[in-house]
């Protein structure tokens, strides 16, 4: 079935929950990807997806079409995910080891030493990302995970392209420093 975004948004603005299903089908993976990129935990990322679409349904009347709908949705997702991270920092950590990390499918990848290495790497990346200021973290995820252009990032983050480039530069620099044991130095030979 064709997805007519303008029509679906208009129906959703009139309170049609079935229209929201259309938007969900179209964007849930992207929203999950951004959410997971920020929190790096499955359960938290799923909670964020749920929260974002409920928020969207409540607030979609405010969307006037001055920007692309996806940048509006990405901004909402990023803000929700960052708020979620702040809330989590205030709460005592839960032991959710089983929730952490990627499920490995390949047999070779299921070897205990590989699983351990993956988990360690995931944990290091998460810790490094958590040390970045929210704006730099958002810029890195929009660029490296979602592959947005500078223009799209500027729209989603509500700032200029110059600011986007600056946040990306400092974010990359900081995370390269934090993950220097894992990032290839780039030296040839």
């Amino acid at each position: 079935m064709d997805y007519d975004e303008a029509e679906v948004i208009s129906r959703c603005q009139q309170g049609d929950a079935d229209a929201l299903k259309g938007i969900f089908d179209q964007y849930h993976k992207k929203v999950y990807r951004i959410a997971y990129g920020v929190v790096r935990q499955r359960e938290d990322a799923l909670d964020i997806v749920q929260e974002v679409f409920i928020k969207l349904f409540r607030s979609i009347k405010k969307f006037k079409g001055r920007s692309h709908f996806y940048t509006y949705l990405y901004r909402m997702t990023m803000n929700t995910a960052i708020d979620h991270t702040r809330k989590m920092k205030r709460q005592p950590p839960l032991n959710r080891e089983e929730d952490r990390g990627v499920q490995l499918s390949d047999d070779a990848e299921k070897r205990p030493d590989r699983i351990l290495a993956h988990k360690e790497l995931e944990e290091r990346v998460k810790l490094a990302m958590d040390k970045l200021p929210p704006e730099q973290k958002a810029a890195l995820i929009f660029r490296e995970v979602e592959g947005l252009s500078y223009q799209e990032m500027a729209e989603a983050m509500g700032c200029s392209i110059g600011t986007v480039m600056s946040r990306l530069h400092y974010g990359r620099k900081k995370i390269q420093e934090l993950l220097k044991d894992y990032v290839l130095e780039g030296k040839e030979g």
Binding site: A17, K21, Q50, F53, Q103, S105, V125, M129, I175
Partner: protein
């Protein structure tokens, strides 16, 4: 990046080991950040999340009837600064304007006042005039002694 720009960059990379190193380092970083996310998305089945969202929205719809009534009585907008400050200003102004009228002292005998009092050797005369009844009362005292005794 346009095609000519791409050709230019690729040409430069062939010649410049420093930029090649920087690019490799950036790609490595991208891979570190992106690949776990991609793997997580690939494994995840999300449509069941929709059921939770839908349930939440439907329950909100049921509550919206009550909310409509509640909103009708809601005074929160009145407490917002944009409304509250002018409202207080208007109220104070009205109080200032009406207070003199409300607290104005009125005569115990409204509508009646002494128009004239005339003293003489034999009689003292006091003339009252009522405003409402358009009536004039002339009070004749027989002498200064009597007046003294009645006051």
């Amino acid at each position: 990046m346009t095609d000519p720009e791409r050709v230019l960059v690729e040409g430069h990379l062939l010649e410049c080991p420093t930029c090649r190193d920087a690019l490799r380092s950036m790609e490595s970083l991208r891979n570190l950040i992106k690949s776990p996310v991609e793997a997580a998305v690939e494994k995840e089945e999300l449509p069941w999340v929709w059921q939770k969202i839908e349930r939440e929205i439907r329950s909100e719809e049921k509550l919206s009837w009550w909310k409509g009534i509640w909103d009708w009585f809601d005074v929160t907008p009145l407490l917002r600064k944009r409304v509250l400050i002018p409202a207080v200003a208007v109220t104070v102004l009205l109080i200032l304007l009406t207070a003199p009228l409300l607290f104005k002292k009125t005569s115990s005998y409204p509508g009646q006042s002494v128009v004239e009092y005339v003293e003489s050797q034999t009689y003292n005369v006091m003339i009252y005039e009522t405003e409402n009844a358009k009536m004039t009362v002339i009070w004749l005292f027989e002498g200064p002694d009597q007046e003294r005794s009645t006051s």
